[in-house]
Chain length 189, copies 2
């Protein structure tokens, strides 16, 4: 997921339980790869308004459940191109860091401002080069993302599960800012 154009479908999960989705993934050969808890901190630029330029700068602290590993990543995202309902392409550049608090201090010293932070539980499933992610964003609800280079796969998965999914073009950041309901309680120790 480094320095490439990301194509993903993103959906709010509208069914009360996600057994139907789990069953679909299992039946179609998707394997659970790992579970993580992630805290994301988003920043605005000192002299550009990212909500206008549609860019994003994020520090992510990712904790692998059951493995005791914490990975810290700084990500820049360019503006989105909407390819279809719920399907977007976006330039991403990522670099791994050894300390998120120091990166936060550097960004604040450079005039970047924190705009939001939130925590999600994430289960990642994979089948060849298709990645499906089930997210529980604290305060916001459950979502599914599908990531692959092949747009038709994304559309096929959506049509199979459409009764449980509602396409979302907005980012979690935008949804958090809109609702003001996201929570960022996280233990990175």
């Amino acid at each position: 997921m480094n320095n490439y154009v990301e194509v993903e479908g993103k959906y709010r999960i509208t069914c009360n339980n996600i057994r139907k989705i789990n069953y679909f993934l299992e039946e179609n050969g998707f394997k659970e790869k790992y579970r993580v808890v992630e805290k994301d901190i988003y920043y605005n630029h000192p002299c550009r308004d990212f909500s206008r330029t549609d860019e994003a700068l994020r520090v992510r602290i990712r904790k692998y459940i059951g493995q005791g590993i914490v990975k810290i990543v700084l990500t820049y995202k360019g503006s989105r191109k909407i390819l279809a309902e719920g399907v977007k392409a976006r330039k991403e550049i990522e670099v791994e860091l050894n300390n998120w608090r120091k990166m936060d201090k550097i960004l604040l010293s450079l005039g970047f401002q924190r705009v939001a932070s939130f925590v999600k539980e994430r289960i990642i499933y994979r089948k060849k080069d298709v990645e499906v992610t089930i997210d529980h964003v604290y305060g916001l609800g459950r979502f599914m993302e599908v990531e692959t280079n092949n747009r038709s796969i994304i559309e096929n998965i959506y049509s199979s599960l459409s009764e449980c999914l509602q396409p979302v073009n907005k980012t979690y950041l935008e949804l958090c800012l809109e609702t003001q309901k996201c929570r960022d309680d996280f233990d990175d120790s």
Copy 2:
């Protein structure tokens, strides 16, 4: 060297050979700790002029000679306070990265501009909490830096070696920009 106020003396080495300095360090119990080759890339801010605000943002690629280790560090430096001739204090925040090219791309995407890059060979000597560095900056010449919390140690070392040393308040970045002689040939493989 993380997130603290750096107090250092910096001097241009004016003697033709540095045997006198090496002899002084040995006689006074300094031990050579390691040798590195460093490439430093400096950036200007998208909407602040760091040459006016006296801040700095640097990506450093450090290669440990004989050990095959490469360490990459992003450093923010606040404005300098000059404490004595050649002695300055400065806030520093550092974070380690796994890839300098991606950090460079993120910074350029955010509107930071590269202002200079240069390479130096560096030998680090230490005695308790005093660090002495002998630098050969490609295209610029030889320098000595003394770093410790105790200003009087810095001043004592300077007076012992004053015939070989000329205090410098400028950074390598400023000297490189002034002279336009610095070189950045570096193999980070």
